[in-house]
């Protein structure tokens, strides 16, 4: 998995009816865009280290060019 700062991290719900969760990647700590990431979660504003597993996907956003 590779990601950039500004991408969204989406976690699929683990149970039937459970909503997906999302956060914004604010730092990439691994080489070449690899995990771990620092993610700011939803409305809480809390930031955690995050290690994506089989339940997570990265939603890439187009990054503006100079």
């Amino acid at each position: 998995m590779r990601a950039n700062v500004g991408d969204k991290m989406l976690i699929k719900g683990h149970h039937v009816g459970e909503p997906d969760r999302d956060g914004e990647i604010i730092d990439v700590r691994g080489p070449d865009g690899e995990p771990p990431y620092v993610v700011r979660w939803g409305d809480t504003g809390h930031e955690t280290y995050f290690y994506p597993g089989s339940d997570a996907v990265v939603v890439h956003y187009a990054h503006g060019r100079a």
Binding site: G23, P35, G42, T48, Y51, G53, D55
Partner: protein, 148 residues
């Protein structure tokens, strides 16, 4: 059988100085039942939602109590390329519901008792199909060859 890498769930890590309230809010926001306490990239403890209730709320710990005040340590870990049977053994031996997955000394995720059960159920279902086929459509062996 499968290696743990295929089964591991996303892992959320926080520093031990984070508050128990922040941990609870993160668990709700991310939809996880456990947070791994990190020292750098290395896991040093684990806090589950149950820990927050029993060691935090039930003991009237303040909201800003440190996360490492309620964590379980040392943490039981499994290598990311370990076999699923190793996970069965660790969970059974220690009587726990989650294993912290590591790559060397680096935290990379979590695998739970429920994840392993679901995986095992899928394997058992395949075996069950063979038994069901035999029950519903029993095979008939051809007769013995006629004596010469």
């Amino acid at each position: 059988m499968q290696v743990i890498e295929r089964l591991r769930r996303s892992g959320v890590g926080l520093n031990g100085a984070a508050t128990v309230k922040a941990a609870a809010e993160v668990m709700e926001a991310v939809g996880v039942g456990a947070i791994v306490v990190l020292d750098g990239a290395a896991p040093v403890g684990i806090v589950t939602d149950r820990d927050l209730v029993r060691r935090g709320l039930a003991k009237s710990l303040p909201d800003d109590a440190r996360l490492d005040a309620v964590m379980t340590t040392p943490v039981i870990t499994i290598e990311v390329d370990a076999d699923i049977h190793d996970a069965f053994d660790l969970i059974g031996r220690h009587g726990i519901r989650r294993l912290v997955v590591v790559d060397g000394d680096r935290f990379v995720g979590v695998v739970s008792h429920d994840d392993l059960l679901v995986e095992l159920t899928a394997d058992l279902r395949q075996l069950g199909r063979a038994v069901a086929m035999e029950l519903h459509r029993p095979s008939h062996d051809p007769g013995l060859p006629a004596p010469l």
